[in-house]
Symmetry: none
Subunit: 190 residues, 4 copies
C-alpha cells in the first residue's frame, strides 16, 4: 500500500533545496563577489534562515552549489573521453571547461580559502579525467613527453578554471587560447 519512496513529505523541501541551489549558482555566475545568504534567499523566494538550515551553513551551501555545477562537467569529461579518445577529447573538453568557467563568473576566486569538500573532490575528479586524456595523447605521440607528465596534468587541470577567466564573454579569446595551448602541448619538432 505504501509507495516505495516514503519521501512524499519532503517534496517541498527538495523543491526548496533545488531553488536555493539554483539561486546560488545563478548568483555565482554574476559579478560581485560571494553572494550574500540573503541575496540567495531573496532570489529563491524564501527566508534567509531557510537556506542556512537546508544546508547547515553558507559554506556547505556554496559547496553544494559548486559541486552541482561540477558534477555534470566530470560526467561530460568521461563521455567525451570515451567518445573521442585522447587528445581530441582533451581539446573538446577544455573548450567546455572554459565555456563553463566563462558562464560562471570567477566561481573559484569567490570561494578561495573556504573549506569545500565536495568541490575539492570533484576538482580532483576533473584532474583525473584530464590526466587520462593526456595519457592517451602521450601514448599516441600527440602530446609532448619532454615535460614531466605529472606537471602537464597539473598544469592543465589546475589552470583549466583560471585560464578561462580572461575570456569573459568572448568565445574567440577562449578559442584562441585553446589553439595556443593545444599547439603548445604537441611534441616539439626536432
Amino acid at each position: 500500500m505504501s509507495t516505495s519512496h516514503g519521501k512524499a513529505l519532503r517534496a517541498d523541501a527538495l523543491r526548496n533545496r533545488r531553488r536555493a541551489l539554483d539561486a546560488a549558482t545563478a548568483l555565482l555566475a554574476e559579478p560581485g563577489g560571494p553572494p550574500k545568504v540573503e541575496a540567495i534567499a531573496e532570489r529563491a523566494g524564501m527566508g534567509a534562515g531557510t537556506v542556512v538550515r537546508a544546508f547547515g551553513g553558507k559554506d556547505a551551501l556554496m559547496d553544494a552549489a559548486v559541486a552541482e555545477l561540477l558534477e555534470p562537467l566530470v560526467l561530460r569529461g568521461r563521455q567525451i573521453l570515451e567518445r573521442d579518445g585522447g587528445p581530441t577529447a582533451l581539446r573538446a573538453f577544455l573548450a567546455e571547461l572554459m565555456a563553463f568557467q566563462a558562464a560562471h563568473y570567477a566561481v573559484n576566486d569567490q570561494l578561495a580559502g573556504l573549506d569545500l569538500p565536495a568541490t575539492t573532490a570533484l576538482r580532483a575528479e576533473l584532474v583525473r579525467v584530464v590526466d587520462a586524456m593526456l595519457g592517451e595523447g602521450r601514448e599516441q605521440g600527440a602530446i609532448r613527453s619532454d615535460i614531466d607528465p605529472v606537471l602537464v596534468t597539473s598544469l592543465v587541470g589546475e589552470t583549466a578554471f583560471t585560464i578561462a577567466k580572461a575570456s569573459h564573454g568572448t568565445p574567440e579569446l577562449a578559442e584562441a587560447y585553446l589553439e595556443v595551448l593545444m599547439d603548445g602541448l604537441r611534441p616539439r619538432v626536432p
Copy 2:
C-alpha cells in the same frame, strides 16, 4: 614662500603614505584574503584612521598599493623589450610576470570587483608592452600570425596574472606552463 614647518608636515604625510603602502604591499603578498585596514595600520606603525585618511578609503589604498607593485613591472617590461627584443623578451618577461604573481599571493583575486583606476591603467600598459613584444615576434616570423594578433595579445596580457596562480610555490610548474605557452605561440609548421 613655503614655511619649513609646512614642509615638515608634508614630509610626515608622505612618509606615512609610504609606510602604509609598504605595509599594504607586504600584506598583499601573504595569504589570508584582503588585508584589514587595522592590520595594515599596525604593520605600518600607525593608527587605522591615518591609513584611511591618507588615501581616502581602502579601495584607493589598494589601488595605490597594486599600482606601486605594477609600475616597476611595466618599466622592467620595457627594459627587457629594448634589451632582448621580440620573442626572447616575451619569454623572459612572462617568467617575471609569473614570478611576480607568485610572490604576491593572489593579488588579483583579492581585489576582484573593486574599482581600481591606477591598477587598470597599469594593466593596460602591461598589455601594450606585451603587444609590442608580440608584434616584433610576428614581424620576425617567430610568433604565429594565424590568430588575430589582438586576441593573442589580450590572451597573454590578461592571463599573465592568472596563469601563475596555479603554480604557486612550484617554479617547475610555472616553467612548464611557460614552455607550453611559448611553443603554442610559435607559427604552426605546415
Copy 3:
C-alpha cells in the same frame, strides 16, 4: 454517544502529550541549558510542531513538565509527614528534595524568569507541606521557635531546590548540608 474514532484520536493526542512530557523531563535532567523544542520532539519521536501545538507554546510545556516532576514530590511529602510526623519527616523529605534536584540538573535555573503557573502552585504546595512538618516540630519542641515560623518555612521551602545545586553529584555534601541545616533548626540550648 462518542464514536470510537473520536476516542482513538483523543487517545493519540494524550499519548503524544505524555511522550512529549517524558521527553521534556528527561532533557530537564541533563546539562546543557533549557532544552530546545526540536530536541524534545526528536526524543519524543514526533514533529516539533506537534510538541508546540500539544501545549500551546514552549513555556506551557515546561510548566507541565516541571509540574509533573513536582507533583509526586508533593504527594511524597504528605506521605512522609503522615508516616514519620514532624521533624523526622522534615529531614527525610529534605533529603528527597535534594536528591530530586540533583537528579534534575538545575531545573530551576533553566526556567528562571519564565511564567510557569502550575509550577508556581506546586512549589507553594511544597511550602505548605514543609510548613506542616515544621509546625509539628515546633509543637514538639524539636524545631526552634525563636525565629519567625513563617520565615523558617519560607527559608526551607524556597531554598530546598537551590541548596542541592552545589552538591551536584556529591551525596556527601548534600548530607553534610542537611546535617547542618537540621542542627541549625533545633531549638537553641540556653
Copy 4:
C-alpha cells in the same frame, strides 16, 4: 616633561569600559536573564559594537563584570577576617555575601555554563577566605569538626551564592538563614 602615565589618549576608552561595565553589572542586578549586548550598550550610551570590541566578546564582558563585582567582596572578606577573626568573621562575611547576591539578581544562574576565568578564579578566592574563617573557628572549638572540614568549606563556599537567592529583597529571611546556618555549624552538644 611627560607624565608618568602616558595613558592620556585612552582616557575616554577607559571611561567607556567603565560605563559598559557599570551598565552590565546594573543589568545583572535585574531580572530577565543574561542581558543582551545591545541592552548593555544602550544603557551605557554607546554602540553595540563598542562593548563587544572593548572586551572581545560577550562572555569576556560578563566575566569582567562579575569579576568586578566579586573582587571587592574578596577584599572585604580578608578585611573582616583580620578584624574579627574566625567565626565572628564568618557570620559577618556570609551576611555580606548574601546581601551582595540579593543585590545582584541571580548573577550566577544567568552565567551558568559559560567560560568565565576571572570569575572562576575569584570564586576560588572566596572559598579560600571562607576556609580560613572556618579553620580558625574549628581551632577555637566554635565550628563543628564532626563533618569533614573540606565538605563544610565546600558547602559554605559553594552555596554562599545560591542560598541568598531565596532571600530576594527580604533581609529578614537572609538573617534567619544565617542564624540557622551558624547554629548548624556549631559543635553538637553531646
